[in-house]
Amino acid sequence: MKKTIQIPLGSQHISLLEPIRFKFECENEKIIGVDADVGFVHRGVELACTRSFEFKQVGYVVARVCGLCAITHTLSYTLAAEKLLGYEANDRIKYLRMLMVELDRIHSHMLCLAHTAENAGFEALFMQIMGDRELIMEVQEAISGNRIQFDYISIGGVNRDLTSELSALIRKNLGLLAEKIDTLIGLFDNNWSLSLRYKGVGVLSLEDAYTYNALGPLARAAGLATDVRAETSDFPYEEIGYKMILESTGDIHARNFVRLREIVNSIEICRNIIENLPVGEIQEKAKGKPNGEAVIRVEAPRGELFYLVRGSGQNMLDRVRIKTPTFSAIPAMMEVFKGSEYADAPAILASFDPCMSCTAK
């Protein structure tokens, strides 16, 4: 008789937002082997970016690669295109772009925390975090005019300016949010049942993090000091109070904590941006056609986002290569599942904050 059972998870499952299919080879409920199918969301964006859309439209198309980190996709593409056009944005544009990216990071991290709580069977915490998240959604809606797909950044600048009422709203909501995050940190740290579910579960060791090239919060929770915000000079992150957040244990708890503390850091960054916003134009003319090859890395909420854009002086680009954070995190993810309980699988999966629509493009 066969000793193992196969438990599927996905492609449609209540604990999944996106279609991904896992086949867990289990002994009783202990996972001993994993097989994943990540290609459900493949749409063919990379080809369309070079065939159907002109380089000015591509920014709006790549935003639809992923709804959660839409702004970082547009930003990376825009930066790459601007590099090819030989244009550098002024400080105000840079600051406004950074503000949007950090707000996006806050909302994405909060969603991940909520989802992890939901998948650990803690419905009330899910409701609490989702309720608090609306504060940040309000801000984003007020700034960009839409709750999810912001379409805020375009080649040559940003589409909307920050008025004084908006700054007041941001200040108010960030203040409220900062208190809520403090209580959340206490809750995640002290709740008895959460520590049963999170501590020591789904561990990614530092050694594995190096071997499998883990990135983003996943790597930082394991103690691997990598953050594109510290490794790129496209944005002046140091001067607005960016700190690298590191944990060492590499379990779900550590990942949650990296996210929580990054939210705190991002709130501080946003406040600094609002206080020190330079004056200047928000939209400048970037003329010409993209020519050459440019490489851009941006820290998306889930880790490093990589764009390689090549153009040959025409309206259509030659190649747009999108390498998304979850795409690189999948080998590490598969490794972590082995040896854990099936009951923990949804929570572990949510704690990676996988973004399949990013992965499969």
């Binding site: 990135l215 490794e231 795409f327």
Partner: protein
């Protein structure tokens, strides 16, 4: 950004000599169709904790030549290799088709002529 030219047969040795897990972060395998049956393959690395240091190994190939797999050195490269198998219809040892594409979708969408 530093670009280093290499050839497919020498690739494993060069990357093996270059790659240190604790120093270099492997980003991705990338392919660019140059037209005329030629394809440029890139292996992209970045250095941990150093600003703007990206190293790209690149090699020219055609559609038929088998591409060596670097999974033995960098296990996470499997994703990138499977992707170029799907998108360009190349042959890579140990990487199978089917990460994104189904049997009845386009055979190799990112090739120049398709």
């Amino acid at each position: 950004m530093r670009k280093i030219e290499t050839t497919l047969p020498a690739l494993l040795n060069e990357i093996g000599a270059f790659y240190l897990p604790k120093e270099w972060h492997f980003l991705s395998v990338n392919g660019i169709d140059l037209g005329g049956g030629k394809i440029e393959l890139q292996w992209i690395f970045s250095r941990y904790g150093v600003k703007d240091e990206i190293v790209i190994y690149y090699a020219l190939s055609d559609y038929e030549t088998a591409v060596p797999s670097i999974v033995s050195l960098i296990p996470s490269a499997i994703m990138g290799e499977r992707e170029i198998v799907d998108m360009f219809g190349l042959k890579v040892d140990g990487a199978q088709r089917g990460l994104y594409l189904d049997p009845d979708s386009l055979p190799h969408p990112l090739r120049g002529e398709s």
